[in-house]
């Protein structure tokens, strides 16, 4: 139905859709968890915050799991190289994410304050650490990861955990934290008691996070434009060729990550959306237009993630020590048969998922109040 080139571009875009889907849905859960100890000061307030995401966070998290599965199915090289390379960072991420479901479910099982406070901090770790690690990982993808492939296409990674935390990667990590905290704050403004202390604090944190998002995104953009970062393809890639990364030749070239915008000016939509969304979120929070601020932060997330993808196209994971091992859209995918089949499956299942997810959100629509928390036996 589609040729190999089209299928690869579609799956590259779908990878973006899954990552954005994850960041827009589970992103506010992560943001809410990172803000939890600060926006809510006593048990009733914390339970209100937790229950604002309680019924829906679990479904949101599946975007992450499905994203992992989809990378495996469509981009097996990326799945194999990145997760084994970022090995200890992945462990950190998984350990933090494991704390989260347990924190949500087990916190309310016992009334004593020390127990609950421990789980509050576990939830904080389960929100903050993943947000940071995701950003740091994206930073390292932009910088290139220290891996090389041998002739059997086995990947060797020559770096450690601390090597990931370079200044640029940290900046990306903080951007990710700020962006998701903003998203969490805008979620809280329309899910908790209006005008209450939590609502007030969420607005303040949200406004600060919006400004930080703008500054860090701009800072990252400046480094990408003027810093020593970027990769350039020397050979002409065959978009219909079989997936073997070693057949592409790549060179490290400063400024290469902005060359796409000169070639295809329409791609500027992405960074503009990133900035515009954050501005909209800031204005929305300030004037109390809550739904616009949530929409704004969702647009900001979409724009920022799309910016990364479009800037790097066709690269997905360049190598910093052996540029010729770099993974691109044209050399790291599954076969056309698998991509086609997975596209068919996704085209059927994803709309169904969206349908019942919207229904679930609709059923749970409305603010959660401290009074609800005190009386509803189903709440955490």
């Amino acid at each position: 139905m589609f040729d190999y080139e089209t299928l690869r571009v579609i799956w590259w875009a779908l990878l973006g859709v899954l990552l954005i889907g994850f960041a827009v849905t589970d992103g506010f859960d992560l943001g809410v968890a990172s803000l939890l100890p600060f926006v809510a000061r006593n048990d009733a307030e914390r339970r209100m915050v937790i229950n604002s995401v309680g019924p829906t966070w679990e479904g949101n998290q599946v975007w992450f799991i499905t994203g992992g599965g989809a990378i495996f199915a469509a981009w097996p090289f990326v799945y194999a190289v990145s997760f084994s390379g970022f090995y200890l960072a992945m462990f950190l991420l998984l350990a933090a994410l494991i704390l989260r479901p347990v924190g949500f479910k087990y916190r309310s099982k016992r009334p004593d304050a020390a127990w609950r406070s421990r789980w509050d901090w576990a939830l904080f770790v389960g929100g903050f650490v993943p947000a940071l690690v995701f950003g740091v990982a994206v930073g390292n993808v932009l910088l290139g990861a220290p891996f090389r492939l041998d002739s059997d296409l086995r990947s060797f990674y020559e770096g450690g955990l601390l090597g990931l935390f370079t200044p640029f990667a940290l900046l990306c990590g903080l951007l990710s934290v700020a962006m998701l905290a903003l998203h969490g704050a805008t979620w809280l403004t329309f899910k908790v008691e209006r005008g209450g202390p939590v609502h007030r604090r969420a607005r303040s944190f949200g406004a600060v996070a919006a400004i930080l998002t703008l500054l860090l995104f701009a800072g990252g953009g400046l480094y990408v434009a003027f810093g020593d970062i970027g990769y350039h393809m020397q050979s002409v890639a065959d978009p219909l060729g079989q997936s073997n990364p070693l057949r592409t030749t790549t060179q490290h070239l400063a400024g290469a990550w902005i060359s796409n915008y000169a070639l295809h000016p329409w791609m500027l939509i992405a960074p503009v959306l990133g900035i515009g969304g954050a501005v909209l979120a800031f204005v929305g929070i300030t004037v109390g237009a809550e739904k616009s601020s949530f929409g704004g932060s969702a647009l900001a997330i979409t724009g920022i993630i799309a910016t990364v993808g479009l800037s790097m196209f066709p690269y997905i994971l360049p190598s910093s020590i052996d540029a010729h091992s770099s993974l691109t859209v044209w050399n790291a995918s599954s076969t056309p048969a698998t991509l086609g089949l997975m596209l068919f499956v996704t085209a059927i299942l994803l709309p169904i998922v969206l349908l019942y997810t919207s229904w679930a959100f609709k059923v749970m629509w409305g603010r959660v109040t401290t009074a609800d928390v005190a009386t509803n036996p189903d709440f955490y």
């Binding site: 019924p55 990145s82 998984l94």
Partner: protein
């Protein structure tokens, strides 16, 4: 590969998978039992069934959360620790995992929130529908992961492509309708149902022994007895044996389970018990029942069950043939258009994986002597005593479960299940047994597949990531500490919830001690 890295990677996978699978079977079964209980509530409108459903769903929640949390590790562990595996078979293996996410995880995770939070937000029938979706989601996820696992046991529908140095899909239908996957799915979910039935049976028995919550306990027990009897029969009768004649490795697995060192004339007898002696390649003190194995494994009286020695000879031939394919692949790497090498490769490609077995002993399989090939051929035999004993323990528990539930069913039919104290005690102490059988079953399937990660295609020792031993120890210790702490917390919360009993909330009806009192619904406190 560094043998330390291989062993530690296997250890970590085993630890995380076995731990994950402490929670999954209960989720699989209890979700369907909740559907049954809630359906009775919707149909009869008797509030006691609402109490019953809500009580078990509270225990379900405590268990479910750890299944989800530890499942995260599993989804990414192929990439983190089995990087070459992921590259080598990602084209096939990734698809069922992604479909599992789209079709199953979204379903269960989205609806589980509504199941816990939605009691007062929708009609009774709608909530029953939600509970059913959770059960459907968890069971679909078992289907897809077992399609993936079944393909590792029987990698049909794919071929190696020297251009990309990996296995690539040729027929997705074959992967999907793989008979081993189908058998595994039925066997695994049935085992999960048994697990949940024993859990409900045992805890209800505890209440009855103490004379507490009798109304809830005896009804729960009746559900468990019927559900458990059907499931335990299904586990054993529709067991895993249907695929054992299919591939060389499956034949080897069967031979190892039976400690059948040599092919016996048809129909083969089954070795009930004995002591496998690996060094002498014989089984001592064997007690055999004639004909039975031949009947089970081949469904006939005249087909032989192949013994290990004969399978090893076959492996030796396949290694020799595989070396030709390996040689051709090396030449095609530098000269992809070489027609002669391509033809040699096509002729021998189904044995390529066997040549890779030699890499455990020599860097370049082409340099292996015939003697080394003969020695390497014995690598295809898994750990025989382990297979022999774990199968017997698992099967014994399986038959014990049928007896347990048959008794429960008879007693429940006679309405004596709440007063037969010896039975209640047995039911209580049987709670751990299905978990033991299930973990043994996982070990049988996975250790029985050794030395292969993908049967006949990719040896386990080549499938790992290139990690350092230090990094692996870090994560093994990290996961052990984290999982250990969570296990302690989980068990404590479970016990606390069982102690608290079913009548915790203000909107629950008063404890119903006799059958005849119909309990009115109290209004929900606002």
């Amino acid at each position: 590969m560094d043998p330390g890295v291989v062993d530690l990677s296997r250890l970590q996978f085993a630890l995380t998978a076995l731990y994950h699978f402490l929670f999954v079977p209960l989720t699989l079964g209890l979700s369907f039992m909740l559907v049954i209980m809630e359906a009775v509530y919707v149909m009869t409108d008797r509030p006691i069934w609402r109490v019953i459903t809500r009580f078990w769903s509270k225990l379900f929640a405590i268990n479910f959360v750890l299944g989800v949390a530890t499942g995260l590790t599993m989804e990414f562990q192929f990439g983190t620790n089995w990087s070459y595996f992921s590259h080598y078979v990602g084209d096939i293996f990734g698809a069922p995992l992604a479909i599992e996410g789209l079709m199953a995880f979204f379903l269960e995770a989205t609806f589980v929130g509504l199941m816990f939070f939605g009691w007062n937000k929708m009609s009774k029938l709608a909530h029953l529908g939600v509970t059913f979706m959770v059960a459907l989601g968890t069971n679909l996820s078992a289907l897809w992961i077992l399609v993936a696992n079944g393909w590792m046991q029987n990698p049909a529908g794919a071929t190696f492509n020297p251009e990309t140095m990996r296995m690539e899909i040729s027929d997705f239908g074959t992967v999907l309708f793989n008979p081993i996957a189908q058998a595994k799915f039925v066997h695994t979910v049935s085992a999960g149902y048994v697990c949940a039935a024993v859990f409900v049976l045992g805890i209800s028995a505890l209440y009855l022994l103490r004379g507490k919550y009798v109304g809830v306990a005896k009804r729960s027990m009746a559900v468990a007895a019927a559900f458990g009897l059907a499931s335990s029969l299904s586990v054993v009768v529709l067991g895993d044996e249907s695929g054992y004649a299919l591939t060389d490795n499956q034949k080897m697995k069967l031979a190892a389970i039976e400690a059948a060192w040599h092919t016996a004339p048809a129909p083969a007898g089954i070795t009930l018990i004995g002591i496998p002696d690996v060094a002498a390649r014989t089984t001592r003190y064997a007690v055999e029942v004639p004909w039975v194995l031949g009947l089970i494994a081949t469904r006939s009286l005249d087909t032989e069950v192949t013994g290990m020695s004969e399978l090893v000879l076959k492996a030796q031939e396949r290694i020799t043939s595989g070396v030709v394919a390996y040689d051709a692949v090396q030449k095609l790497k530098t000269d992809p258009t070489n027609v002669r090498e391509r033809a040699r490769f096509e002729l021998h490609k189904r044995d390529l994986g066997y040549a890779l077995l030699l890499k455990a002993h020599v860097a370049d399989p082409r340099l292996a002597s015939p003697k080394l090939i003969a020695v390497t051929a014995w690598d295809v035999v898994p750990n025989v005593p382990l297979m022999f004993w774990s199968f017997r323990a698992m099967a014994f528990i399986g038959f014990y479960m049928i007896a347990l539930f048959a008794t429960a069913f008879v007693l429940a039919s006679l309405r004596r299940h709440d007063s037969t104290r010896w039975f209640l005690r047995i039911a209580l102490y049987s709670i751990p047994l299905p978990w033991i059988a299930i973990e043994l079953g996982w070990m049988l399937a996975e250790i029985g597949r050794q030395p292969w990660a993908i049967e006949g295609v990719l040896p386990t020792f080549l499938a790992t990531s290139t990690l350092s031993v230090a990094a692996l120890w870090t994560t093994i210790i990290g996961f052990t500490v984290l999982y250990g702490a969570l296990a302690v917390i989980e068990v404590r919360l479970m016990i606390a919830a069982i102690r608290k009993g079913p009548f915790e909330h203000v909107d629950d009806p008063v404890p119903d001690q006799s059958d005849t009192v119909v309990v009115p619904i109290l209004p929900v406190a606002a």
